[in-house]
């Protein structure tokens, strides 16, 4: 620290980079409690709402889970990218991403809960035809896949033991990487060993290829696998792109809230806001590019087993959601965030982040929820269960995130590139 000018030293005073003792303790309990209540309501709706209620609840909760897993996973991915590129400007804002990535255990528990709930609901809810029992992954329903040629072909990959092993591997790899990186960063807080940054770089470099495969296959298993006939090589990239822009939005919102609480003077300035805004803008366009390419190639080639995915989403009331996703997720944020001043204005940037996050919730819901098909073949539209099912898990994650943010320093304390971040400026 002695290397900094005394003016910069002021930014590192305790009251600027720590929340006060006990801050957020009510908030996190309230959020997590509300989330737990909503989740419980969704589960109850699943048990009492007959076939439709059960299926909607399962898919809504799965949407909540998918969103909750995306955030820590891609936060981990982005931390690794920042480490690998030796990013200097982000040295004061990286900690909030680290706070997110170590919450990997929350979606892991949710995942177990979803699987258990699926099997309990499948046996508890009465349906006329066992083929239409409330399963999330229809290939797990032996009545559904009986005689299905494609399932016979994919059985080697899509079977319950292998699926569980794979899921365990994904969570295991992510958790190990998150633990190692968070450990380096927190140890550096304590011992100020600058070479820990180099160790983190090495872990990240080796971790990134592993991460890429784990994340892509997690996308295949948890999203693409819901309709096991459908396939798209792009889906893994889509899953990552969705998560990345959302994680950056959560990061920006966290920092904006902390800034409005009077913290992080000099650590999160208008300059950081500007650059974060650029990244959000850029990765949001990247998301749109990936989503559009996937849609466009499938639409143009018009091969039945691929187009089915989009046809069910372009039919009935789902078509309105199909329109809403690109507008809310891409078009509105694009226009709002394009001018330079809006990236440097906390209110505009924060509002755009909220819009993108709503768009992302809509996008993930749109990917998962239309897979609900009733015995009579119709695909039910939006219901109140969707709201509780999606927001329940998300609020639980938000609660634990608040607790994590409040528990330690708001920036990495002894990062060797801290000075570069504190003096970061955009010249144009």
């Amino acid at each position: 620290m002695s290397a900094h000018a005394p003016q910069l030293e002021r930014y590192l005073e305790r009251e600027n980079i720590f929340l006060s003792e006990g801050a957020g303790s009510t908030l996190w309990k309230a959020l997590a409690g509300l989330g737990a209540i909503l989740t419980a309501v969704a589960v109850m709706a699943g048990f009492t709402g007959g076939e439709e209620g059960a299926k909607i609840a399962l898919h809504a909760l799965h949407t909540g889970f998918a969103l909750s897993v995306m955030l820590p996973v891609t936060a981990l991915g982005f931390v690794m990218i920042l480490n690998v590129v030796k990013s200097g400007w982000s040295a004061t804002i990286r900690r909030q991403l680290e706070n997110m990535m170590v919450l990997m255990w929350v979606p892991a528990i949710m995942f177990v809960g979803i699987l258990v709930l699926q099997y309990v609901l499948a046996s508890a809810v009465e349906v006329t035809d066992p083929k239409y029992a409330p399963y999330l992954w229809e290939w797990m329903n032996s009545a559904y896949v009986e005689g299905d040629v494609l399932y016979e072909h994919k059985k080697g990959f899509l079977n319950v033991p292998f699926f569980l092993i794979r899921s365990l591997i994904y969570f295991g790899l992510w958790a190990v990487l998150a633990f190692l990186l968070s450990n380096e960063s927190h140890s550096q807080d304590a011992d100020a060993d600058k070479w820990r940054t180099v160790t983190a770089l090495k872990i990240s470099a080796i971790g990134l290829p592993i991460f890429a495969f784990a994340t892509a296959f997690a996308g295949f298993d948890w999203l693409m696998g819901l309709d096991f006939h459908w396939f798209s090589t792009m889906l893994g990239v889509h899953f990552f792109a969705s998560g990345l822009v959302s994680a950056l939005c959560v990061l920006a919102l966290t920092l904006l809230v902390l800034r409005s609480l009077g913290k992080l003077h000099g650590c999160f300035t208008q300059e950081h806001m500007h650059d974060l805004g650029k990244l959000i803008f850029g990765f949001n366009v990247f998301w749109a590019y990936i989503a559009f390419s996937q849609y466009f190639l499938i639409w143009y080639a018009n091969i039945p087993e691929e187009t089915n995915f989009y046809i069910i989403r372009k039919a009935g009331e789902w078509q309105w959601v199909s329109w809403a996703v690109p507008i809310v997720h891409f078009a509105i944020p694009f226009v709002l965030l394009l001018p330079r001043p809006s990236k440097r204005n906390g209110l505009v940037l924060g509002s755009v982040c909220v819009i993108i996050l709503i768009g992302q919730a809509l996008d993930t819901w749109w990917m998962i929820r239309p897979e609900v098909v009733m015995s009579d073949g119709h695909r039910p539209g939006i219901s109140w269960i969707d709201f509780v099912g999606v927001f329940g898990p998300l609020l639980i994650l938000a609660g634990f995130y608040v607790r994590k943010v409040a528990s330690g320093p708001l920036i990495p304390l002894n990062d060797p590139r801290q000075g570069q971040a504190l003096t970061h400026v955009n010249h144009v």
């Binding site: 620290m1 002695s2 000018a5 005394p6 003016q7 910069l8 005073e13 305790r14 980079i17 030796k86 200097g88 040629v149 072909h153 994919k154 990959f157 807080d189 304590a190 011992d191 100020a192 060993d193 600058k194 070479w195 820990r196 940054t197 180099v198 770089l201 470099a205 290829p209 890429a212 495969f213 892509a216 295949f220 396939f231 798209s232 090589t233 792009m234 893994g236 990239v237 000099g266 650029k278 850029g282 590019y289 990936i290 390419s293 996937q294 466009f296 190639l297 499938i298 080639a301 018009n302 091969i303 087993e305 304390l413 002894n414 060797p416 590139r417 570069q420 003096t423 400026v425 144009v428």
Partner: protein, 529 residues
């Protein structure tokens, strides 16, 4: 604020230091500092602003280097050979190529995609790395942009000549003729015309606009030489003319006249005023912003040529980003292929293109090569997962069929070979890097060949045929290399290959907070910065 006593922190830091002790033992030329607290210098050799200008302009103003003329002659010869092949093609027909019935797209499309791919690095380096504030790019961006433009020129050749009736090539453009026949707007081949055309235009503008201040520098230097007239005596007199010779006339050397006029026109009245710079900076940023989506769009559209079809092996949704990654991969390899010899041949270039710059480029090659490898694996997995036997057959045939050698070459060159850059020795030993870049260039050519040769086994087994190129195919491709090298050598000889003003910007003394500008620097670090 620290949780431990500062003295203890310092002690621990020192203990940590010991792990990497031995200052600068592996910094090669001084640019490879591994200390995370410092940034490596971007320009070596304690240069001031004047020496930067003198060095870069000197490469153009000095006598033609001895290697240049033979290199130019060889390149020209190759270009002429290629031109003759094209003339032969036009007067004979596409039958002179090795095309056959299922493989109706041969080397022409392979070469087109390969060249367009190479043309991606320049804009990536100049636009995307500019937006990411990667200052190390300043020493290579001009070089890479020039390469981009020449590569796109070479790429543009092939769609033009592959149509058979070349005199109808103008119909690629949406110009309604008197029968009101429009091109097919639903065809990705037409989108290519727009995508590549836009890319070429913006890249050219970006390159040229960035060069204007440097051309103005060359103009001013040439004008100065023109005004300082050379004393010229009788034919027999030695040069420079000794002072005692009385019968001397003073003349302006024609080369200086020409340079002064040509650079003067090209500099478009640039006078280094602050208003010019202000507009320049704005325009540069705007063009960088415009060029960034183009980096993605061009090769995405090129990938649509294949991916919108329903052919097994071609219809894959990951194609757009995978093509873009592959393009950046081959482009960086080509930049290094050109940069490494240039670094040897031009004295002083090593100060600007440091070992660190080369290392960074090696890392990007590994990243993009691995993304390409990721895509290969995903394609294979989904081909199996999709359960379509034709799709599976196309992939199995690629890897184990008659073109197994091409697939093997592609996988080895693109996925395996760049992994060597995980090791520091490989990223810093220049001859080895050069060898790998050649391997990568070959590998990326094979990637396109593998994709195109998927055609050889089409839907009717009775029409399956093995494609092999003719001599005309090969010489046309070699000819395009000749065109590329010819243009590139001209660029090296007559235009500033480094962005002079940008390189000056990354010198330590360009920072207004540099200690040489103030004695009491403590007062200058206020909150406003």
């Amino acid at each position: 604020m620290s949780t431990i006593h500062p003295d203890q922190a310092e002690a621990l830091g020192l203990v940590g230091n010991r792990r990497h002790d031995g200052p600068d033992h592996d910094t090669i030329d001084g640019s490879m500092t591994i200390d995370p607290a410092t940034r490596p210098p971007l320009v070596l050799g304690d240069r001031d602003f004047k020496s930067v200008t003198d060095t870069i302009c000197g490469w153009i103003e000095d006598k033609t280097p001895s290697w240049w003329i033979p290199a130019f002659a060889v390149s020209n010869l190759l270009a002429i050979t290629g031109t003759l092949m094209i003339v032969y093609l036009i007067i004979t027909g596409v039958g002179v190529w090795g095309l056959n019935n299922p493989v109706s797209w041969g080397w022409a499309i392979v070469n087109f995609v390969w060249w367009v791919g190479i043309g991606h690095a320049g804009t990536l380096i100049s636009a995307i790395l500019c937006l990411f504030k990667q200052d190390w790019r300043t020493s290579i961006n001009r070089f890479a942009e020039a390469m981009t433009i020449f590569a796109v020129v070479c790429a543009g050749m092939f769609p033009g000549i592959h149509v058979g009736r070349v005199w109808m090539a103008w119909m690629l453009f949406p110009i309604p003729n008197y029968n009101w026949i429009w091109p097919n707007f639903r065809s990705p081949l037409l989108w290519d015309v727009f995508a590549v055309g836009t890319y070429f235009t913006v890249s050219l503008l970006f390159w040229y606009m960035g060069m204007v201040p440097d051309i103005a520098t060359l103009r001013d230097r040439a004008t100065k030489r023109r005004n300082e007239k050379v004393r010229f005596g009788p034919m027999w007199a030695p040069h420079p003319l000794p002072d005692f010779v009385k019968k001397a006339t003073t003349i302006t050397l024609p080369a200086n006249m020409i340079a002064s006029y040509v650079y003067g026109v090209l500099a478009m009245g640039w006078r280094f005023s602050s208003r010019h710079w202000w507009n320049y900076e704005k325009a540069y940023l705007l063009l960088a912003g415009l060029a960034t989506p183009l980096v993605l769009s061009v090769h995405s559209v090129v990938s649509f040529d294949f991916a919108v079809s329903i052919l097994p092996g071609w219809h894959t949704t990951i194609f757009p980003p995978y093509f873009v990654a592959g393009a950046v991969f081959s482009g960086f390899a080509m930049v290094l292929t050109l940069l490494i010899p240039a670094r040897m041949l031009y004295p002083g270039l090593k100060d600007f293109v440091t070992a660190k710059t080369i290392e960074n480029m090696c890392k990007i090659i590994t990243v993009t090569g691995s993304i390409v490898g990721f895509a290969y694996i995903m394609e294979f997995f989904i081909a199996w997962y999709g359960g379509n036997p034709y799709e599976q057959d196309a992939f199995v045939r690629r890897a184990f069929g008659p073109y197994w050698w091409a697939y093997f070459a592609m996988f080895f060159c693109n996925v395996v070979s760049p992994q060597v850059f995980w090791f520091k020795w490989c990223r810093t030993y220049i001859p080895f890097i050069f060898a790998i870049t050649i391997v990568v260039n070959i590998g990326m050519w094979f990637e396109r060949f593998v994709i195109v040769s998927t055609l050889s086994a089409d839907f009717l087994p009775s029409s399956w045929a093995y494609y092999s190129p003719t001599l005309v195919d090969i010489l046309t491709f070699v000819g395009s290399l000749g065109v590329f090298m010819t243009l590139f050598l001209l660029f090296l000889r007559f235009l500033p290959m480094l962005a002079i003003s940008e390189v000056k910007n990354v010198l330590p003394q360009a920072n207004p907070h540099h200690p040489m500008y103030d004695t009491d620097n403590a007062t200058h670090h206020g909150e406003g910065h």
